[in-house]
């Protein structure tokens, strides 16, 4: 019988290796075959690191047999191609970094490697993480395993498609405005963005430094907890990482939901949302209620301004961060420059795609003389209002809920001509980034046979309770276990 090892979650695969039902080499080989086989149609990977993965798997098997296994020993994962990997090409989905081989690895990469995880490759993404459909990637669009004509969401679309199609049991992602949670929703996964500062950003190519945070795309909340324990923690190389003890996320999953107060965000439940999407979210609330949670109505009155606020703050920070790409120290360099300005300008004009250029231009505009107060300062003030609304809400509830996205997956090409329509995909996810809060999306049903995501948002450093609520929901439902038919 053909091995069905891709059906295992990380937690299950770990147990299987401990029970000697399979080896890391077998597990890695099986997933590599899926990546190059059925998975190839998805375009989920930019780089596959099969050879180094198999070498690492052999060492993992030795550790397991000698009783020396680390927490993630021998488990295959993939990294979004935004994380620097020493001497392994790291493109950030851009022509600018098409052949960039970093001389060091991101802290997330090092920590997961130190915990024993094995990297099968680097996943496709929107260019510099700027996009909600994975269509801005220089390396081409990724397809959604639930419907190949649909987008997997973005920007962590390659990671989401790879995990949903069971090419790898888990992958890393980054979330600046919803880039983990929205693709998780559109691909039927559990996607977690931790609190800002919970996970180091060192070696994670910067887009908007006050919003970016690394997280996970997994099949279950239990797997997210397992990975977060290995990824989280203060890092002397990231001055914005926070020295807060890392929780026992796995051990905390079992608590029941009696007395848990969950706030449904009124502003997220509007008529503009897809009806079937809304129905799936409402039925998830019934499940949580039956488990003992109390669902209460909550209002975040300034949340409606989160998208415009984000599209000032994020481009402003991006225009500054991306000024480092000058064609000189790394990245694409234009040939035969006539002078230094020409080298800068043509290297950037040739290296960046349209969406990245639009964001750099928007950021340059809102920061430029005469507009700074009207846009950038104003957006920072509204950001304070949005953050204060969350703080007030968490005085009376433990967790906030709502839909992750207004609709299920949309068709490739459907929104590419209209940036604003694309931006509005992240209408319910951006708030957590502006306020720096942990948030998670998990599957809660279907709309037109496509997965629907339920979003949880927790107070800062409330990952343990958030994962606990998600895990309890997943004990009572089986949406998270469903596999797209073509990849079963």
């Amino acid at each position: 019988m053909k091995a069905r090892w891709h059906e295992w979650t990380l937690t299950e695969a770990r147990q299987a290796m401990a029970d000697k039902r399979c080896t890391s080499v077998e597990l890695v080989t099986h997933h590599l075959e899926r990546i190059s086989g059925a998975g190839a149609a998805l375009n989920a990977f930019i780089t596959v690191t099969g050879e180094s993965a198999l070498q690492a798997a052999e060492l993992a098997d030795q550790r397991i047999s000698s009783g020396d296994a680390r927490p993630l020993e021998g488990l295959p994962i993939a990294h979004k191609d935004i994380f620097c990997t020493e001497n392994v090409r790291t493109t950030c989905g851009s022509r600018m970094l098409e052949s960039f081989e970093p001389p060091y690895s991101a802290t997330v990469v090092r920590k997961l490697e130190a915990a024993g995880a094995i990297v099968l490759g680097k996943t496709n993404m929107d260019e510099f993480a700027m996009g909600s459909s994975n269509e801005t990637s220089f390396f081409g669009s990724v397809r959604n395993p639930w419907d190949l004509e649909c987008s997997p969401g973005g920007s962590s679309g390659g990671s989401a498609a790879a995990v949903a199609a069971r090419l790898v049991p888990a992958a890393t992602g980054t979330d600046t405005g919803g880039s983990i949670r929205q693709p998780a929703a559109l691909c039927g996964l559990t996607g977690m963005k931790p609190t800002y500062g919970r996970v180091s950003r060192y070696g994670m190519i910067a887009f908007a430094s006050s919003l970016d945070q690394a997280g996970t795309l997994t099949r279950s909340a239990a797997d997210a907890a397992l990975l977060l324990e290995a990824m989280a923690g203060v890092d002397p190389q990231d001055s914005t990482s926070v020295d807060e003890p890392v929780g026992a996320y796995v051990d905390g999953l079992g608590a029941d939901l009696q007395g848990c107060r969950i706030g449904l965000v009124r502003e997220f439940m509007v008529d503009d949302n897809d009806d079937e999407n809304t129905a799936a979210v409402l039925s998830a609330l019934d499940v949580l209620r039956a488990q003992g949670a109390e669902i209460v109505d909550v209002s975040l009155k300034n949340i409606g301004l989160s998208v415009p606020t984000y599209y000032v703050v994020a481009p402003a920070e991006c225009s500054s961060n991306l000024s480092r790409f000058d064609g000189i120290r790394f990245g694409h360099r234009a040939s035969d420059p006539k002078d230094l300005a020409d080298l800068y300008t043509r290297s950037r004009a040739e290296g960046f795609g349209d969406e990245v250029k639009r964001r750099i231009m928007t950021g340059t505009y809102v920061l430029s003389a005469g507009y700074y107060d009207a846009y950038y300062l104003k957006a920072q003030q509204v950001r304070r209002l949005i953050s204060a609304d969350f703080a007030a809400a968490f005085e009376s509830v433990d967790i906030l809920v709502g839909p992750t996205a207004p609709t299920p997956a949309f068709r490739l090409g459907e929104k590419t001509d209209d940036p604003i329509t694309m931006y509005l995909n992240d209408i319910y996810t951006i708030g957590a980034n502006l306020a720096g809060l942990p948030a998670l999306s998990m599957p809660c049903g279907y709309a037109r046979n496509l997965p629907v995501g339920l979003q949880l948002i927790a107070p800062a450093f409330g990952e343990a309770r958030m994962l606990n609520v998600a895990h309890q929901f997943q004990q009572a439902t089986d949406w998270h276990t469903h596999t797209p038919e073509a990849f079963a």
């Binding site: 002397p236 000024s323 790394f330 230094l340 300005a341 300008t345 231009m361 920072q380 509204v382 209209d418």
Partner: protein
Amino acid sequence: MSITKTDIDKLAQLARLEFDATEHDDFVQKLGAIVDFVDQLQAADTNGVTPMAHPLDLVQPLRADVADAAIDRSALQSTSEDVADGLYVVPKVIE
């Protein structure tokens, strides 16, 4: 339209980008739409609100001023297309 061709030229110069004629029109139109969209912020009452630049009220952490392990210079410069004698090569700046 809130963004003009002149604005695009000025911003492109500031951002060290350039556009050909067809791209130029597309950027005027789409950047204009983005600016119109974010303009709805103007309606918010932010009187007396302290701007929030960052989600954490952080104090810059300091460490002892002791040399740390660093990445080797030649490894760092291996990512550049043009390096000579440990220096980055750029077009002539001073006439």
